[in-house]
């Protein structure tokens, strides 16, 4: 048994090596998509602090967090869903549905706010479970299913309330949604549940067998099944989580604006997906990390609030976000191309064909194998 296990190590020099994991930890952490996003966030933030008037004022960060909180919240479960290679387009409709449910329960049935919020979150979980059932157990493509439930949940929300809005919420609760953790600090209270959830999701995705299963499903669902991952159950619970957290974001959204309307948060799903993908999650699944996603959401938030302070309209902001998104996915390809150029060295060796490049890498053992293998698996 031990002889069998030791054999691969003996043969290793002859076969292909995995350069990605032979590099030291600091290098793997720093030379990554996630770190690039974090660095970009830091640069944009520092630049805005110095060059944008009023950016360092007390209100900027406060409103930044207040406005991006729903995106931050929904991005957590959506990251995991996208890592499994699925997608959920119905999250914004669940936000609207939960918002309406809360308004109706509070106004027409006279339920207290916490009870109405809990029931709304329960409804969100049920909505997510319906998605999960169709995707995980019936085996339908999630893109098509959630385009359907995007229309269905939004339709239920709009159908329940029509064009009317429920605005009668006790001030105690609407104030809470806008309260700051400490008076005068720029951090709103909503950050507390977000941070709790963030810790939970980091533990779940990066430090638990369940999370390893999530990556494995994204890499190869069939192989994951053979290594004992319950693929269907994992996907099902991820959709339930996405539904429940979207509904929680809906409760927050309702209280923050003091109004429950059917068309609340229309189009939010594309913003969340843009932020998640900007944060380095691969749309094909199997790759991505939560620190990158949080940085991606904040990057969009910082860019838009800085541009708003500079008196740019929402139009220019959406152009910038779109360009960022396109660049972020194209960059993998560009980086692979650049590193292929670099690996040829300053001596200007002739361009190598793929077969020969691999041989060249084997001799000097640089990081090129890492980039080429990732770029091929990504396709």
């Amino acid at each position: 048994m031990s002889a069998m296990l030791s054999r691969p190590t003996a043969e290793r020099p002859a076969g292909p090596t995995y350069a990605d994991h032979s590099r030291p930890l600091w290098r793997r952490a720093l030379v990554s998509r996630e770190f690039a996003v974090i660095a970009l966030l830091a640069v944009v933030f520092a630049w805005s602090q110095g060059n944008v008037d009023n950016f360092d004022g007390p209100l900027t960060l406060y409103y930044l967090f207040l406005d991006t909180a729903p995106i931050l919240l929904i991005a957590l479960p959506l990251t995991m869903i996208i890592i499994t290679g699925e997608i959920d387009l119905s999250v914004a409709s669940v936000v609207g549905l939960a918002s309406v449910a809360m308004g109706v329960l509070h106004q027409d049935l006279g339920l207290s706010i916490p009870l109405a919020a809990l029931l709304a979150i329960g409804l969100g979980a049920v909505a997510g479970a319906f998605n999960g059932l169709l995707v995980a157990y019936v085996g339908l493509p999630s893109l098509a299913v959630t385009i359907g439930t995007l229309a269905l949940y939004r339709g239920l929300a709009v159908g329940l309330l029509g064009t009317t809005a429920v605005t009668e919420f006790p001030e105690r609760w609407t104030d809470l949604a806008k309260a700051r953790i400490v008076d005068g600090s720029p951090y709103p209270v909503i950050l507390i549940p977000f941070l709790v959830l963030l810790v939970g999701f980091v533990l779940l995705l990066h430090f638990s067998p369940f999370g390893r299963g999530v990556y494995e499903i994204g890499q190869n669902a069939e192989a994951a099944r053979f290594t004992g991952v319950n693929v269907a159950r994992t996907k099902f619970w991820l959709f339930v989580l996405a539904g429940a957290i979207s509904a929680f974001a809906g409760v927050y959204y309702t209280l923050r604006y003091g109004s429950a309307r059917g068309d609340n948060a229309t189009g939010l799903e594309l913003q969340v997906i843009a932020a998640v993908l900007l944060g380095g999650v691969s749309i094909f699944g199997g790759r991505g990390a939560l620190h990158g996603v949080v940085a991606g959401v904040l990057l969009i938030g910082v860019v838009s609030s800085a541009m708003r302070l500079e008196n740019h309209t929402a139009n220019v902001i959406s152009i910038v976000i779109g360009v960022l998104l396109v660049l972020s996915v194209i960059s993998t390809r560009l980086l692979a191309w650049v590193s292929a150029l670099v690996s040829r060295g300053p001596g200007g060796r002739p361009p190598l064909r793929i077969g020969r490049r691999r041989a060249a890498v084997g001799t000097n053992g640089t990081s090129t194998t890492g980039t080429t293998t990732t770029s091929t698996t990504e396709r």
């Binding site: 997608i87 387009l89 169709l134 019936v138 085996g139 339908l140 493509p141 893109l143 098509a144 299913v145 385009i147 359907g148 439930t149 995007l150 229309a151 269905l152 949940y153 939004r154 339709g155 239920l156 709009v158 159908g159 029509g162 064009t163 059917g262 229309t266 189009g267 594309l270 997906i273 843009a274 993908l277 749309i283 094909f284 309209t313 929402a314 139009n315 220019v316 902001i317 959406s318 152009i319 910038v320 976000i321 779109g322 360009v323 960022l324 998104l325 396109v326 996915v329 194209i330 993998t332 390809r333 396709r379």
Partner: protein
């Protein structure tokens, strides 16, 4: 004696055609559509038999039909184009601007300009997807924002009003030839050409091959990148044409023209039996799906269901369509396996 790889079907040709028609998705969706129209007409005869009702019935779906046809061509290659709504808005605004800034410009020139402009936007999508080798969902989500942003920046708070457009152009939006609105004829003509191309032309069949298995298509020697690029250009051009149609139909173009219509176009294709992972489905189905979606929107209030529930019904339809597809596919697979085991 040579053995054939595939035995010719033992069923007689007429029976085969008949069975194929019975099982076809297009016929199923069409009968749902006809049933809906009949039901609504029984409830309110004006839905079909008044002059306006008949015209609206045919005219309203034409914009979504154009988009759904373009979307189908893209989805068949296992891609998706989410930027069509923004493209439609941009092209509709361009149409208005051309008329407002160049009085007396021929209508044909404007139609061509709008379509060509859409094609350019589609070309950008196609280059990014085909060259960048990144998923179309991400790229077109990005260009959805970019195109919409360009549209809003260009238009500002300005909007195109009916008074900016020449009467002859607006007349196109309402005129009918032998009882059929001109814009519907345009949409159906496009549908026929694209449908014929996808069904018979080599380029069209290659799109299906690429969608079924991109790697196999590459190994077989098909020019995958070029075909995918072509599909995006076509989708963009049709969205551009839909923008011109939009301007002619509504007369005003404000900043929310085409907002959110991309998901309706995908939904219409899915209802019409286009598989979201490519390789199967027809533009006929997608066009009937578009017709059904729009007609439901208009019929529900007449049948007595509040029009706020429209979207819920649309959602149920989309989910019903894919569940039905799944059930039929599973049954078909079982039958094939049985047939193999018996032989």
């Amino acid at each position: 004696m040579t053995t054939l790889l595939v035995e010719p079907s033992a069923v007689s040709p007429t029976r085969r055609v008949l069975l194929g028609a019975l099982r076809s998705r297009e016929i199923a969706v069409l009968s749902v559509l006809l049933a809906l129209i009949v039901l609504t007409t029984v409830k309110s005869p004006a839905f079909v038999f008044s002059g306006n009702g008949w015209r609206d019935l045919l005219l309203t779906p034409s914009i979504l039909m154009l988009l759904a046809v373009g979307q189908t061509v893209v989805i068949v290659t296992r891609n998706v184009d989410l930027s069509v709504g923004s493209t439609l808005g941009l092209s509709a605004y361009l149409t208005g601007r051309l008329f407002a800034d160049n009085p007396g410009i021929p209508i044909v020139v404007v139609v061509l300009a709008g379509t060509a402009f859409g094609a350019v936007l589609g070309f950008v999508n196609g280059v990014l997807v085909a060259w960048g080798r990144v998923p179309a969902l991400v790229i077109t989500l990005g260009t959805l924002y970019v195109y919409r942003g360009i549209f809003l920046t260009w238009a500002g708070s300005d909007r195109v009003n009916a008074s900016d457009l020449p009467a002859a152009f607006l007349d196109l939006g309402t005129r009918s030839v032998v009882g059929i609105p001109v814009l519907t004829i345009v949409a159906v003509a496009v549908l026929a050409v694209v449908g014929y191309y996808l069904h018979t032309a080599r380029g069209g069949r290659e799109l299906y091959a690429i969608g079924s298995d991109p790697d196999a298509a590459t190994l077989y020697g098909l020019k995958v990148s070029r075909r995918v690029l072509g599909a995006f250009v076509l989708s963009g051009a049709l969205a551009g044409l839909a923008g011109v149609v939009y301007a002619a139909r509504y007369g005003t173009v404000s900043s929310n023209a085409g907002l959110g219509i991309e998901l309706q176009a995908v939904g219409a294709a899915v209802i019409g039996g286009v598989a979201i992972f490519g390789g199967s489905g027809t533009v006929w189905g997608a066009a009937i799906g578009a017709f059904l979606l729009i007609t439901i929107n208009r019929a529900l209030p007449i049948v007595g269901i509040g029009d706020f529930w429209q979207r819920a019904v649309v959602g149920v339809l989309i989910i019903g369509a894919i569940v039905l597809d799944r059930v039929l596919a599973a049954r078909n697979e079982r039958r094939l396996v049985e047939a193999r085991d018996r032989s």
